[in-house]
């Protein structure tokens, strides 16, 4: 086992899958010679050549449309869109085709592609480089939406995504790319898409989150325990869609209280679906209204103010106390 950053762990996943299966291809802007602007694809072109690690012209619809064709042929393209803020240029290729070629061809073709793209703020990035729009993809039938929260699960989920027979949008948190290291085993590890995880057990309150927000959520859980003795159960969704509601519903059955946290704007955000599932499946267990702690319904501000936009542990603690005090 080696201690790795998320960037290194993702690189390991790509490299190992490419080694094992010559149908796995990497393509995108600056993914080859440059190794990707965040270096996630670093060194792959040296190992696997420029036929498999493809530096493309600057055209997102081109990248995704080409990936669809490759996937239909039977390859397993992993394309990178340099920032999620530029994945709307290819949105029609996802909506009109990637998501529905299986259905449109009655199963004759399918699109086993992965679209990797960095999301979320917190790294003092340029305009258009800090958005969180997982809700768009979660609402789109036919695709899967995955967001890992650390090196180890990122590596395992990326391998599962590559092997998945359906298209997967794979959001990578810029803020977590190099934030911390984790032990990542050399040998292959996968993690089933569509499955969430309890990362901290508790009985008083359920916190549901994913991606970048797992760290402030866990920090809030610690604060609540230390300062108020509150035992918080924290769930890491890992997959946003298809949403694994079983685990958090079960948790709310136990705790009766919940806080949902994400960085994306609150209104019509992913949290709304989580709240609705709890409403549907655990209403009579609820002791207080669920709180959502989210980004505001505005464009995430330029970086000098982004910290006030992004939910903090303090904001989460405050919401938790509100839920607990009802």
């Amino acid at each position: 086992m080696a201690k790795m950053t998320m960037v290194q762990a993702l690189n390991l996943a790509l490299s190992q899958e490419m080694e094992k299966d010559d149908s796995v291809m990497v393509l995108g802007e600056d993914v080859g010679v440059d190794g990707g602007v965040f270096r996630v694809t670093d060194g792959l072109i040296d190992k696997y050549g420029d036929q498999r690690v493809i530096d493309t012209p600057l055209a997102e619809a081109g990248i995704v449309g080409m990936s669809i064709g490759m996937a239909v042929y039977g390859l397993r393209p992993v394309c990178e869109i340099q920032f999620s803020g530029f994945s709307y240029q290819n949105f029609h290729q996802i909506e009109n085709h990637a998501s529905r070629l299986r259905w449109r061809s009655q199963g004759r073709f399918h699109v086993p592609m992965v679209l990797r793209t960095p999301y979320s703020g917190g790294v003092r990035a340029l305009e258009h480089h800090s958005e969180s729009r997982e809700a768009y993809y979660a609402h789109t039938p036919g695709i899967k939406m995955v967001i890992p929260s650390g090196p180890r699960n990122a590596r395992a989920l990326l391998i599962s995504a590559i092997r998945d027979p359906d298209p997967v949008i794979f959001y990578e948190s810029k803020a977590l790319y190099r934030a911390f290291r984790e032990e990542v085993p050399e040998e292959e590890e996968t993690f089933p898409i569509g499955t969430s995880q309890i990362v901290r057990e508790g009985t008083d309150l359920t916190m549901i989150s994913y991606g970048t927000m797992m760290r402030p959520a866990l920090e809030a859980a610690s604060i609540l325990q230390e300062k108020d003795g509150v035992e918080t159960e924290v769930i890491d969704l890992l997959t946003i869609s298809p949403l694994d509601d079983a685990l958090f519903v079960q948790s709310v059955h136990k705790t009766g209280r919940a806080v949902v946290i994400h960085e994306a704007p609150g209104s019509f955000g992913p949290g709304a679906e989580i709240v609705s599932r709890i409403m549907e499946k655990a209403f009579f267990y609820l002791e207080a209204p669920i709180e959502r702690v989210t980004g505001y319904d505005i464009i995430i501000p330029l970086f000098s103010r982004e910290n006030s936009y992004i939910p903090s542990a303090q904001r989460i603690v405050r919401a938790a106390k509100k839920v607990l005090s009802t």
């Binding site: 493809i54 449309g65 080409m66 490759m70 029609h92 009655q106 949403l243 694994d244």
Partner: protein, 368 residues
């Protein structure tokens, strides 16, 4: 202001072999086997007659809205006739005759046009993608397939179709540029039928031809008389050979005409004159090719009649069997098929809810 002229590489040519009066340029006549010529004739006529029948079915409410192909049969048939079965076809939505040539059944067309997904059941042996309605979007898939073929060191080629209107979409540009950069074995066939719904070709772009747009990507471009199946065939044959031998892509602009409505929901009288249509009717690809085959002694009036009869029967059988098949396609639960490789839990819940609902409706109607 004097400047240095840059030598922009590439020229654009126009190819015509069998002109609108049925006159043949012998020097250019492609060498096509007789059985292939007759098969082409069969599918040209099939395309035309099937179109007519579909329009009447649509008017009777027996199928939904669809885009007729009349007038454009040669432009797409001549192109696909140069391909092998293992090659890939990436259609738009106005290449029905080509799809039939490639093996799609008439039944499947009818089912699809009557709102049944089962109409896009594609046999495992077929390498043809389903029709693509979002204009221009399929072009990029062709490039991806071409890249994959090249990567796998196969000598198959990909042929993709689109209209004059599609050349305005960003996807056209990105696709052609990728094809140029990656030298993929893709033949881009533009059926320039003069109209994109109500938009005439002249207002779609100020460019003199669509073929010349290829030069922006260092891809060869050629314009052909799309109502001349020999010219289409010859140009496509050259492009396919070039792609197969690793020399990359070609853009073929087939100058043709949509003789009928855009779709059965369209009223062309709002935007074009009867005279224009009449003018183009004189250039009918079918009439011209019939004359050619007769001149060649390959077709007689009896032969024409026999083909007509054969096609009438084929179409009638297809309509009958499609309408028979539709009776068994009533199960709404089938809508959940092929959403994903494996149905996720939420979709299982939703499918079960619909199943219960259908049962209740069944019960209610039994008791009602």
């Amino acid at each position: 202001m004097p400047k240095t002229k840059i030598d922009v590489p590439g020229e654009v040519h126009f190819l015509s072999i069998l002109n609108e009066y049925g006159n043949l340029d012998k020097t250019l006549e492609p060498d096509i086997a007789e059985d292939v010529l007759l098969k082409l004739y069969h599918y040209l006529l099939l395309g035309r007659r099937f179109d007519e029948r579909l329009i009447s079915l649509q008017r009777q409410g027996r199928i939904g809205t669809f885009p007729p192909i009349s007038g454009q049969e040669a432009a797409h048939l001549g192109a696909v006739a140069t391909m092998r079965p293992s090659d890939w076809m990436v259609p738009s939505f106005r290449e029905t005759a080509a799809e039939l040539w490639r093996g799609r059944t008439l039944e499947s067309v009818i089912l699809y046009n009557n709102g049944y997904n089962e109409g896009v059941r594609i046999p495992e042996s077929s390498n043809d993608l389903p029709v693509s309605v979002p204009v221009g979007s399929q072009i990029l898939h062709a490039v991806g397939l071409g890249y994959a073929i090249k990567y796998r060191q196969k000598d198959d080629v990909v042929m993709t179709f689109f209209g004059d209107g599609a050349t305005s979409e960003g996807d056209f540009h990105e696709g052609l540029n990728f094809a140029g950069v990656f030298q993929t074995p893709v033949i881009f066939v533009c059926q320039n039928n003069q109209w994109a719904i109500s938009m005439p070709r002249s207002k779609q772009t100020r460019s003199k031809t669509l073929a010349q747009k290829a030069l922006s990507y260092a891809v060869p471009g050629i314009q052909v008389d799309g109502n001349d199946i020999l010219a289409v065939y010859a140009a496509a044959q050259e492009a396919v050979a070039s792609a197969r031998s690793g020399e990359g892509s070609t853009l073929i602009e087939c100058v043709t005409y949509r003789m009928a409505v855009h779709t059965t929901a369209d009223d062309p009288k709002r935007y074009r004159t009867d005279e224009e249509v009449a003018e183009w009717q004189k250039r009918d690809p079918l009439v011209r090719f019939q004359k050619y085959l007769k001149d060649k002694g390959l077709l007689t009036d009896d032969g024409i009649e026999a083909t007509e009869a054969e096609i009438t029967e084929k179409i009638q059988n297809a309509v009958d069997s499609a309408e028979e098949e539709m009776k068994s396609l009533g199960n709404p639960l089938d809508m959940f098929d092929h959403a994903y490789a494996e149905l996720p839990p939420r979709l299982i819940e939703q499918r079960e809810a619909l199943a219960r609902e259908l049962e209740e409706i069944q019960k209610e109607s039994n008791h009602g």
